[in-house]
């Protein structure tokens, strides 16, 4: 009877130890600070050097120079300057800390994020140029006299985008969609001013088919 109780306590202790080790590991995995070392620290130093915050050697040792560089980087990028590379700083530095990070709305303006949602809903899996092209059509519409004058009004115009009706507009966009949205916002328009696009295999609309095609990318014909 006594033996069984001892075994029970040992088992409990073992479970607690495992939990402790796991939590300790996970803490170590999600942040780098003064005293850390290794390959990830090298990556951090390389990025900080390229972005002009670090002048020391890429030695993989998180010393006072690296800590000062991290703080400077954080101040310049609107992050609390604590000298610790946690999840927020790592995301900004483009460094994966174990778990993969998904895109969040926090890093983008609302316009970029809405465009990215349209891209993701309409053209995920299409070539990158095709993704930028979708966003370019939205932006060309905003500029055109025949369409509303804000991104949200264009996207949510009645019947304008099928992804609004089927709910795909609400999916979380990936990094590629965000990048394509930013490229389009910055002026990249692979469509040459297109206001429409359609999938020629699925469209029977004579009005659309009569329009001159400016470009074909993947599944989509773009036209003005």
């Amino acid at each position: 009877m006594k033996k069984r109780r001892i075994t029970k306590y040992m088992l409990l202790a073992l479970i607690l130890a495992i939990i402790f080790v796991i939590s300790a590991c996970s803490v170590a995995a999600v942040s780098y600070s003064y005293g850390s070392s290794g390959q990830k620290v090298k990556e951090i130093q390389t990025r900080l050097k390229s972005w002009g915050f670090y002048n020391g050697s890429i030695d993989g040792v998180f010393g006072s120079a690296t800590s000062a560089a991290v703080k400077w980087f954080q101040r310049n990028n609107g992050i609390t300057a604590d000298g610790v590379v946690g999840s927020v700083t790592a995301e900004k530095l483009g460094i994966a800390l174990g778990s993969s990070s998904s895109s969040s709305a926090s890093g983008s303006t609302s316009d970029v994020y809405l465009l990215a949602r349209v891209i993701y809903g309409e053209a995920r899996g299409e070539p990158y140029k095709g993704q930028v092209a979708i966003a370019a059509v939205v932006l060309n519409r905003v500029e055109s006299s025949s369409f509303p004058n804000t991104i949200a009004k264009v996207v949510y115009q009645n019947g304008a985008f099928s992804i609004v009706a089927d709910g795909q507009i609400n999916l979380t966009p990936d990094d590629t969609a965000i990048r394509a949205a930013k490229d389009a916002m910055n002026g990249y328009d692979p469509t040459g001013g297109a206001l429409f696009y359609y999938n020629p295999k699925k469209t029977t609309n004579a009005y659309m088919l009569a329009k001159p095609v400016t470009l074909v990318i993947g599944e989509h014909n773009f036209c003005r």
Partner: protein
């Protein structure tokens, strides 16, 4: 035994009965809910239709008042009123489930009516007198709106105010708003508005000024592309042409593992875009010193590629790149219409992209007039609460398709950075831009 079986059967019947009744109740609830939702949506459509009918009628009245008016203040008041109201109509029409064939020309017409009235009011505010041509145009506009208002009212009466009178399959909708054919509505209902301003035909069909006339073949364009890209890009092949506003040959190649696209204009053989598709990139603002280095890299690169000397404007930082806005200079005057965007890879210091669309749309050999207003005179116009940090002479584009020589005052209002543009000939405030510092860099709005 028999009793138990009988009892079980009874229980089964009761369970099945309960399930069926439950399902019927659920179905009724779902159908009531969906009917309510449908009615709510229809009510929204209905409201939009009623608004359009009413707003077009009000617009017609306001246009009549404009024709009656005779002082600048009244003109400006009603013109701005028309502009505001066209925005409401545009919002209502785009909320309706109507065919593109109907909605596009109607929206375009309403947008142009508003833009024309706004630009006319701005001209009056800047001291111009309303011309006979403008009065003639306002008269035609009034006639066209009267006709539209009458037809919409008739349609409203015929359908009992049902918005479906404007719906997808309605022949009447096309007749009411667009006429039987495109020719009919442009001749009949929609008059052609002539003005220099946003959304005007001359602005929307603007031709590039900086490309020249020489036609290029695909082979010549490919040679140009390879010359521009150098040895770092290999395997250049022709992709689908881009036949848009500025028709281009498109070529794709590889820079290491990255796909590179380059667009060469069919007329002039110029590089319109060069873009490198990169898999990964961090989005962070570099240190000031590093930013200055990146600007130098961008400036030197465009100079090597044959563009004029440039001054750096603002930048965005994303996907491992700095997208730097470069403003070409002429006699040290910044030419904002000719803005060039250059993308520099922050890790490798290489230029990996360019966007010259603005440059080739606007660039031409300009003879820049001298400023007739002195810097001090211009400064006297600037809000005295601003703390001015810099002054430059610049050329800015405006939405009337003209360029204005201005003093650009970089200033601060408390912690807000802004740019104030004072016309260097008329000493009036031409534009104000607010500089926004975001996580990705700097934007002007």
């Amino acid at each position: 035994m028999k009793d138990i079986r009988e009892r079980n059967r009874k229980i089964m019947y009761i369970v099945i009965g309960v399930i069926i009744v439950g399902l019927i109740i659920a179905l009724v609830i779902v159908s009531i809910n969906s009917t309510i939702k449908e009615r709510m949506i229809n009510a929204q459509y209905q409201r939009s239709f009623e608004d359009i009918v009413k707003d077009i009628d009000t617009l017609d009245t306001k246009m009549t008042k404009l024709l009656v008016a005779n002082t600048d203040d009244t003109y400006v008041m009603y013109l701005m009123d028309v502009w505001r109201q066209t925005g409401d109509i545009e919002a209502s029409i785009t909320a309706l489930p109507v065919k593109n064939e109907v909605i596009l020309p109607f929206t375009q017409y309403i947008t142009r009516v508003g833009a024309y009235c706004k630009s006319l009011s701005q001209r009056i505010l800047s001291g111009e007198k309303i011309s006979d041509d403008d009065m003639g145009q306002l008269k035609s506009l009034k006639d066209s709106l009267s006709k539209m208002a009458a037809e919409l009212k008739e349609r409203w009466a015929q359908t009992g105010g049902n918005y479906e009178g404007l719906m997808d399959d309605s022949e009447i909708a096309t007749e009411t708003l667009a006429g039987d054919s495109a020719d009919q509505y442009t001749d009949d209902m929609y008059i052609k508005l002539i003005y220099d301003g946003p959304f005007s035909e001359s602005m929307e069909n603007k031709e590039p000024l900086g490309l020249g006339n020489e036609a290029f073949s695909a082979d010549q364009a490919k040679t140009k592309a390879q010359e521009f890209l150098g040895d770092s890009v290999s395997g250049l092949t022709q992709a689908e042409d881009m036949n848009g506003t500025i028709p281009c040959y498109v070529f794709e190649g590889a820079a290491g593992e990255n796909l590179v696209s380059i667009y060469i204009t069919k007329t002039g053989g110029k590089v319109l875009y060069y873009n490198t598709e990169r898999e990964w990139g961090m989005s962070a603002v570099p240190s000031d010193q590093r930013y200055d280095e990146l600007i130098e890299i961008a400036k030197n690169w465009v100079s090597e590629k044959g563009f004029p000397e440039c001054s750096a404007s603002y930048a965005q930082f994303y996907n491992g790149c700095a997208v730097i806005n470069l403003v070409p200079l002429q006699d040290e005057i910044k030419l904002y219409p000719d803005l060039i965007k250059v993308c520099v890879d922050i890790e490798t210091n290489e230029a990996v992209g360019i966007d010259t669309r603005n440059y080739y749309m606007s660039h031409t050999d300009r003879t820049l007039d001298k400023a007739t207003v002195t810097e001090d005179q211009a400064k006297a116009i600037v809000n005295p609460n601003l703390q001015i940090t810099d002054v430059k002479l610049v050329l800015i584009p405006k939405d009337d398709n003209k360029e204005y020589l201005c003093y650009e005052f970089s200033a601060k209002l408390d912690s807000t950075d802004c740019l104030v543009y004072i016309n260097a000939k008329t000493c009036t405030e031409e534009n104000i831009l607010i500089i926004k510092h975001t996580n990705d860099g700097t934007l002007t709005q």
